[in-house]
């Protein structure tokens, strides 16, 4: 595995019975890049993410995340990644502070460290009043920001973001991307899935999955040139059409 | 939803009627006959013939017999002492010992009564040895003839069925209504309704009337099952039953609405209902007689809607009571229903 590759996937196959969810995937993600993982619903994205997060065992292939093997060192992988789901899954009946303390706690962050980082976070996001509010009383945009802060609170090497912007307005989405850029500047790698094609353009590199295979991979500019498209939306449509013709 | 509504009455009436029985039947009893006389033998066979008891015999009362009680192999041990027949005929005071496992106090009381009745009815035929006093004075007695009205065979199922139907109807009214409304709240569809031009009362009526009809249907089905499978009598008029059920359903649906006003999640509604339901059921005379409760408890029952309906449904079905016989209950339920509905609707408008 090369020095700067934080995720390395070779010939990954995952089968559920007769159904092949991931058919021979090959890709790698470099350190401190934003990697967009795109694909229609049912294309096999979720399965791949679950394998990368150590939730599922691959059927065959080589998978390496943050320097650990996805077959044998799943618990080490878990310790070194962060994860944010599309539901911004926070506990509604706990306060912002309690949510942060809980998630940091289960990642084994020391109490004193939690305290200092919490203060930093409060300063950065200007949530002096908000931190003692119950999550259920927060607007969606804030839930999203806090869910992200929680996912990177223990300073993981990679953070997996599963459709982190669904249901949020464009301005809030923009602000959210600023948070991602900031995290990447701190050396965190972001692995992100999204439905918004304009967001795909914010990524350093993207891959597009169709029917369990990776159909296209590269920087947004490369892909647009390759498919002779105006924007990523076009790329996506053209890929889908190609599929139909076959 | 539909299967729940129509399968529930079947399952509940069938299982509950069979499970919820406080009737004495096939109770294991051990007899220790130390007398071995004609009378003691007839007593034993009398017990063997009784449908209430399963008899087994032990030759003496010792630790082993005690062990039978301890391990619940037998519920009671009856000991017939030596010289029983002799003493009896000579007019000497004699005593039968009856040891009962009394952890279930009510059951123990019943066992004691049945054993008493069995023995006394047999011994009343015993002729004492002739002696002076007996020749002079003929024995005097009062014959008490018992008539068990409304349930000649003392069929416990006829007692339980109305109770179970009461629970059933109340479940529809309180449980289904409030869970349905709270679900609407949880899913946010109530917001959707609030923006439509439909009036509040129209919405509430639209929500409640289906449950009202379902409740009537379910009670109908339940009574039908009772009549067909358990021989449940229906001595009153259909109209009386209908009028009272309509009234009671209004009360219980209003209570369901009231609970939904105060609960924000189905779980909360569920626990609140569970709490009140338990109190209503236990105090309402469904399993145990209200008559044996202390005065204050009977007073508390005045705010227990199930208490009224319980009385009503038993009286109408088993005794053939009319609205005039139950005029107090009629007005109580009417007042209760109106009050509950007004408060619930008022609270509902305030909350939403």
């Amino acid at each position: 595995m090369s020095e700067e590759n934080i995720i390395e996937v070779k010939n990954l196959v995952k089968k559920f019975g007769n159904f092949t969810a991931n058919d021979n995937l090959n890709f790698s993600v470099r350190k401190s890049e934003i990697f967009g993982f795109l694909g229609a619903n049912g294309a096999g994205k979720t399965t791949a993410i679950k394998i990368l997060c150590g939730l599922l065992l691959p059927t065959s292939g080589e998978v390496n995340v943050a320097g650990f093997d996805a077959f044998k060192q799943r618990n080490m992988i878990k310790k070194n990644i962060g994860y944010m789901s599309q539901g911004f899954s926070l506990y509604e009946d706990l306060t912002v502070k309690e949510n942060i303390e809980f998630y940091a706690g289960i990642y084994g962050v020391k109490r004193s460290v939690i305290k200092t980082r919490l203060n930093e976070l409060v300063e950065k996001l200007h949530i002096h009043e908000l931190k003692d509010e119950f999550v259920k009383d927060l607007p969606l945009g804030w839930k999203q920001k806090i869910a992200f802060s929680v996912a990177i609170f223990h300073k993981p090497q990679v953070v997996f973001l599963d459709e982190p912007t669904s249901g949020v307005d464009p301005i809030t989405r923009r602000q959210f991307w600023d948070l991602i850029y900031e995290a990447v500047d701190d050396g965190i790698t972001a692995f992100i899935t999204t439905h918004y094609m304009d967001e795909a353009e914010y990524c350093d590199r993207i891959s597009i999955m169709v029917d369990g295979k990776i159909d296209a991979m590269g920087t947004p500019t490369e892909l647009k040139r390759l498919y002779n498209a105006q924007n990523m939306d076009d790329v996506f449509v053209k890929l889908a059409r190609k599929q139909e013709i076959i | 939803m539909i299967p729940i509504i129509f399968i529930m009455p079947f399952v509940q009436t069938l299982i509950l009627v069979y499970a919820a029985t406080l009737e004495l039947k096939n109770t294991n009893i051990t007899i220790v006959d130390l007398d071995h006389s004609v009378i003691s033998q007839t007593l034993c066979s009398k017990f063997e013939a009784s449908p209430f008891f399963n008899v087994n015999f032990e030759s003496g009362y010792d630790d082993d017999t005690e062990y039978l009680l301890l391990t619940e192999k037998t519920k009671a041990v009856l000991i017939i002492p030596e010289n029983f027949e002799n003493d009896l005929k000579s007019g000497i005071k004699t005593q039968l010992q009856l040891n009962i496992n009394a952890i279930d106090g009510q059951g123990a009381g019943l066992i004691s009564i049945y054993v008493n009745q069995t023995i006394l009815s047999q011994l009343s035929n015993v002729k004492p040895f002739a002696n002076k006093t007996n020749l002079q004075v003929m024995p005097a007695k009062i014959n008490a003839n018992s008539r068990f009205w409304y349930n000649e065979t003392l069929n416990f199922k006829h007692f339980m069925l109305p109770g179970i139907l009461t629970i059933l109807v109340s479940m529809i009214g309180i449980f289904l209504t409030s869970l349905n409304l709270v679900r609407e709240k949880e899913m946010g569809t109530i917001e959707q309704i609030n923006v439509t031009p439909i009036k509040k009362w129209q919405f509430i009526a639209g929500k409640l009337i289906p449950f009202w009809i379902i409740g009537l249907l379910v009670l109908g089905i339940g009574i039908g099952i009772g009549i067909v499978l358990f021989d449940l009598p229906f001595r009153g008029s259909l109209l009386t039953m209908f009028v009272f059920t309509c009234l009671y359903l209004i009360t219980s649906i209003a209570l369901g609405l009231l609970i939904s006003d105060f609960a924000s999640t189905q779980q909360q509604a569920m626990f609140t209902i569970f709490f009140f339901f338990l109190i209503f059921v236990l105090m309402g005379g469904i399993f145990t007689s209200v008559e044996s409760m202390p005065e204050w408890a009977q007073n508390i029952n005045k705010i227990n809607p199930m208490y009224y309906f319980m009385k009503i449904i038993r009286s109408v079905l088993l005794k053939g009571a009319t609205v005039f016989d139950l005029i107090n209950e009629f007005f109580a339920l009417l007042g209760y229903g109106i009050l509950a509905l007004v408060v619930a609707v008022w609270q509902y408008r305030k909350v939403n």
Binding site: S89, F102 | I15, A19, I103, L123, A140, I142, F271, F287
Partner: protein, 367 residues
């Protein structure tokens, strides 16, 4: 360990935040015990009885006043004919009526025998039976007194109420309430709380975290185990201090027994949370699959031996049945392990079965 502590803290926060559920959980056992203890009585008190006296002589008046003086009976009204009795029954004004034949006293003196009739409202059969035996006993006594010299037969039946001399109903319901509450808190609450995590999507995040699945499960279950132990102990204490329900057996055996039952209930909660996808499903499974059988088919209120054979067989798979048998043996009869090992084994067997199924289902989901 610190990770696990963080998890536990969160679980307790959830529980204490939900004040309403919390209150009800602690109020239910208290109310249940109080109602059973103070309201539900085994004896008849002041049952209302009416009189139809076709004779109206000294003797009938004496019998009536004797009845009225008895604790169990209260004479409330006099009637002129049978139809008045009937309407009194229909309006629920009386539970029984006594009818004296014409010329009662005269017949008694002349024939040494007179007839009275006891009419009972048998829509409540057990009450009718009790009243019948009270009233007949009182009238028979009266007849004997009239003849003072000697009774025909001189026999008495001496009942000895073992394990519960005063027929206190608390002896039945304190163990029963314990079984019910342990079941509600442990199985129902824990399954709901696990399913809730699935529903709101946090379970996914927990699984991605370095917490091991076993830690997650233990963290979810432990708080409810603690709560139910607190609840169980308070029920025993209230039962003991307020209603005098004894603890004859060893408290250690009692604790071990309760602990095994709680373990069983937890494994059941785990199984339910594995099957149910939504909280509502979990609630319905718990209500109809756990609470009703625990109340009806465990011997809590209704004796199992009176039920039809099919239900008796069904009761063998109701865990609370075994708990109640063992609990009553230890608390009320003072028995030890020698008498309850079978019940303990059954409970442990059920526990391992439930855990086995849960683990298997969990594994299938992971692959």
């Amino acid at each position: 360990m610190n990770r696990f502590l963080a998890f536990l803290t969160k679980e307790f926060l959830h529980i204490f935040r939900d004040v309403r559920t919390m209150m009800i959980l602690f109020l239910i056992p208290v109310f249940q015990i109080l109602i059973f203890g103070y309201v539900i009585k085994n004896e008849v008190r002041d049952a209302k009885v009416g009189v139809l006296d076709f004779s109206g002589d000294v003797m009938t008046a004496q019998i009536v006043s004797k009845l009225d003086a008895a604790n169990d009976i209260e004479i409330v009204d006099y009637y002129k004919n049978y139809s008045e009795i009937e309407s009194a029954f229909k309006a629920n004004k009386i539970k029984a009526a006594i009818v004296f034949e014409p010329n009662f006293a005269a017949t008694f003196v002349k024939e040494r025998e007179a007839n009275l009739q006891i009419i009972l409202d048998a829509s409540d059969p057990n009450l009718a039976n009790l009243l019948n035996s009270y009233i007949s006993a009182i009238s028979a006594n009266y007849a004997n007194e009239q003849k003072a010299s000697q009774a025909v037969i001189n026999v008495s039946i001496e009942p000895r109420m073992l394990y519960n001399e005063n027929l206190v109903s608390a002896y039945m319901f304190v163990p029963g309430t314990m079984a019910l509450i342990l079941m509600v808190i442990t199985a129902l609450m824990s399954s709901i709380s696990i399913v809730r995590e699935k529903e709101i999507g946090t379970m996914e995040i927990l699984l991605v975290s370095p917490l091991k699945p076993i830690q997650i499960i233990l963290g979810k279950l432990a708080p409810y185990a603690i709560l139910s132990i607190v609840n169980a102990i308070s029920i025993i204490i209230i039962g003991n201090f307020v209603f005098g329900v004894p603890i004859l057996g060893s408290p250690i055996v009692l604790l071990i027994l309760s602990f095994i039952f709680i373990l069983m209930a937890l494994s059941l909660g785990l199984l339910i949370s594995n099957i149910a996808k939504t909280q509502q499903v979990a609630m319905f499974i718990s209500m109809f699959g756990l609470l009703l059988p625990t109340m009806l088919l465990s011997g809590f209120i209704f004796p199992i031996e009176n039920m039809p054979v099919a239900l008796q067989y069904f009761s063998y798979i109701v865990p609370a049945k075994y708990f109640l048998i063992a609990l009553k043996s230890v608390m009320l009869k003072g028995l030890g392990f020698a008498f309850i090992w079978k019940e303990l084994l059954v409970l442990l067997g059920m526990t391992s079965l439930f855990i086995g199924i849960s683990v298997k289902k969990f594994k299938i989901r992971l692959d």
